[in-house]
């Protein structure tokens, strides 16, 4: 029961301080609303979107390159215009955001699981295990995340046959982005674990003979999770950008499941012929999404860490 006490404390904090600082900043409230709206409309894209851009039967090539509604030649059926195949840009954005968010969430979850596990083990075990794990983290940190994600993707691409790769490309991407971002989680968790493991409740757990795994999982972990959630929010924006970048480079999701990055890449080809809306609107959606997530993360970090105020 003692392990639950911090959780209860957290619940009380949410009721008072956190909510109070949330309602005080209009920027934060707006970005939260925007984030919820975007995540919601992306998650329910099949019901929200005016068209299904992947239903070939409803596509008409005669509709291709329709400009947005407010420009000359706009069509009320396509508020943000259409692309080269006559697909509604608004609908492709909603479906694309869905894939971007899915990859973002999953890769952060993966990075979090990996990082928290490594951090817990390194912090709790200490000694040589700690030294080796943190040395790996150092080397990993020397290389920019995007480079590692690219390499992982390239290696997997070389190992797997092409058809198989296209089918699991999204999981490869999640793996690649996740594996390039576990270090911040591991470092933070290791730091707090080293503090926690000398506290009395851990000693008590050790005295009554619990296994190290059990102590780490059900006693130390709940006490080090606070900062982890902050990092996760901050990393989500990064992961979404990483996915968009890889897809833009043409090594991300397969073209049959276009994410926002893929849409931007496709639209980039039509920039010179004047059809700017095909690339600018997905780009704007991406920026608004990342900006609102980042603002939320910044606020959460400041609100949960009184030292920074």
């Amino acid at each position: 029961m003692r392990a639950l006490a911090p959780l209860r404390r957290l619940a009380r904090a949410v009721e008072s301080d956190l909510w109070w600082s949330f309602t005080r900043s209009p920027t934060v409230v707006i970005s939260a609303l925007v984030a919820v709206a975007m995540i919601g409309s992306a998650a329910f894209a099949p019901w929200v979107a005016p068209h299904n851009p992947f239903d070939l039967a409803t596509l008409n090539l005669l509709d291709a390159f329709t400009p947005p509604l407010w420009l000359e030649g706009g069509d009320p059926r396509f508020p943000l215009g259409t692309d080269d195949q006559g697909r509604d840009v608004l609908s492709t954005i909603l479906y694309g955001a869905r894939i971007s968010l899915f990859v973002g969430f999953c890769s952060v979850l993966f990075a979090m699981t990996l990082g928290v596990t490594i951090g817990l083990v390194a912090g709790y075990a200490g000694g040589a295990v700690d030294a080796v794990l943190m040395r790996i983290a150092d080397i990993k940190l020397t290389f920019p995340a995007i480079l590692i994600a690219l390499l992982v993707d390239g290696i997997v691409r070389a190992i797997l046959p092409r058809e198989l790769h296209d089918r699991i490309a999204i999981w490869v991407l999640i793996f690649a982005i996740g594996i390039s971002n576990w270090v911040p989680f591991a470092r933070t968790v290791r730091g707090s674990t080293m503090v926690e493991k000398n506290k009395e409740y851990v000693m008590a757990a050790r005295v009554i003979g619990l296994s190290p795994a059990r102590i780490m999982w059900s006693h130390v972990l709940p006490n080090v999770m606070g900062p982890v959630l902050v990092i996760a929010t901050l990393q989500l924006g990064f992961a979404i950008l990483a996915e968009a970048t890889l897809s833009f480079l043409g090594v991300g999701v397969p073209p049959t499941q276009p994410s926002l990055g893929t849409l931007i890449r496709i639209g980039n080809d039509f920039l010179f012929s004047g059809e700017w809306w095909i690339t600018i609107f997905p780009g704007a959606a991406l920026v608004v999404m990342v900006l609102s997530v980042n603002l939320l993360g910044d606020w959460l970090r400041d609100a949960l860490n009184p030292k920074l105020r």
Binding site: I139, T142, F143, P144, I146, L147, L150, L151, D153, G154, I155, R157, A158, I159, G237, L241, A244, T245, F248, L249, G250, V251, I264, N268, L271, F272, G274, W276, T279, I280, G283, L286, V287, V290, L291, N294
Partner: protein
């Protein structure tokens, strides 16, 4: 001093060995060069002869040592896709990437530091608020989108600057430079701005927060009390003390610039190493990927060493032997 450099170099060796091992493992286990080199029709005897000739029947570590020897001689093998020596391909592309990356880094420093100083000194002026808002957007905009927007405005709508390639280049020995021709410089502007923008906002924010911290310290108050002019207090005392973290971050960001050059080079079709690498990833061209990995690791090790040496130049405390105890 010499001992410090030597210990740094010694620390770099395990990193380089690890990276080489990963590169070699890619060679050894990913793809099958024999099948690729033999083509469609071959007999089992031909295959065995080639395996022996390439030394693929040797144990793993013998092969690894041989790989290391080749790498030290600058021999990275043949590209699977282009059939040319990887070393030549990279050497051709290296000047383009280095010129782009260094211009971007210089731009980030020359614009970012003054902006940071300004926003630190006059934190409530409207210009500072504008800088900060722009920097927040700059951090949230992905590199490729900045590039696309710049192309849209300056190449498509205004038509002032070219949107792809390096323009005319001049060859000086094996190094080709675009900095000596007008079209080369014009072609460099948009990619360099695209690549440097993120680092610029980062440096600006860093200098700003460091300035705010330093300006609160006692020695600044004392300098003011002595009646020193603002210029000397701000630049001689305050800015100088913000430089250590700025150097660290700039050094580390130089690595990030080289990584993100991949993206910028793709947007602007800039014929550099990054473009070569991304084509290699898309085609699973292992020799190029392995060589690029080793080269980038080497570059990072060198950058880190230079950053450490710059600490010495900037921070006198390190020179008096505190280095051993300061925790680094």
């Amino acid at each position: 001093m010499l001992a410090f450099i030597l210990s740094r170099l010694l620390q770099a060796i395990p990193v380089m060995l690890t990276v080489s091992l990963i590169s070699f493992a890619m060679f050894a286990y990913v793809g099958d060069p024999v099948t690729i080199m033999l083509g469609q029709d071959y007999t089992e005897a031909q295959r065995e002869a080639l395996v022996r000739e390439l030394g693929l029947d040797q144990p793993f570590f013998v092969q690894f040592v041989e790989f290391l020897e080749n790498v030290l001689r600058g021999d990275f093998g043949l590209s699977y896709r282009l059939g040319r020596p990887v070393a030549d391909l990279i050497l051709e592309r290296l000047p383009a990437t280095l010129e782009l990356a260094l211009t971007a880094a210089l731009l980030a420093l020359l614009v970012g530091v003054p902006m940071g100083v300004y926003t630190g000194l006059y934190r409530d002026s409207w210009l500072s608020r504008l800088f900060l808002t722009v920097s927040l957007i700059g951090v949230s905009l992905p590199t490729f989108l900045i590039g696309i927007l710049l192309i849209l405005v300056f190449a498509v709508i205004l038509g002032w600057l070219p949107s792809f390639g390096r323009g005319e280049t001049v060859a000086i020995g094996w190094w080709t430079t675009g900095l000596l021709t007008w079209s080369g410089i014009k072609a460099l502007i948009l990619p360099a701005v695209t690549l440097g923008l993120y680092q610029m906002t980062l440096i600006m924010r860093l200098v700003r927060s460091e300035m705010l911290e330093v300006l609160r310290t006692d020695y600044i108050k004392f300098a003011r009390a002595r009646g020193l002019p603002d210029r000397i207090v701000h630049f001689g005392h305050a800015l100088k003390n913000t430089l250590v973290p700025v150097i660290t971050i700039t050094g580390l960001q130089l690595g990030a610039i080289i990584a993100f050059a991949i993206v910028t080079e793709t947007v602007f079709q800039w014929p550099g190493m990054g473009l070569l690498f991304i084509q290699a990833v898309a085609n699973a061209d292992i020799p190029i990927m392995a060589a690029y990995l080793i080269l980038v690791a080497l570059l990072f090790v060198v950058i880190n060493l230079i950053v450490d040496l710059l600490y010495y130049a900037v921070d006198p405390r390190l020179r008096s032997g505190l280095a051993a105890t300061s925790g680094r």
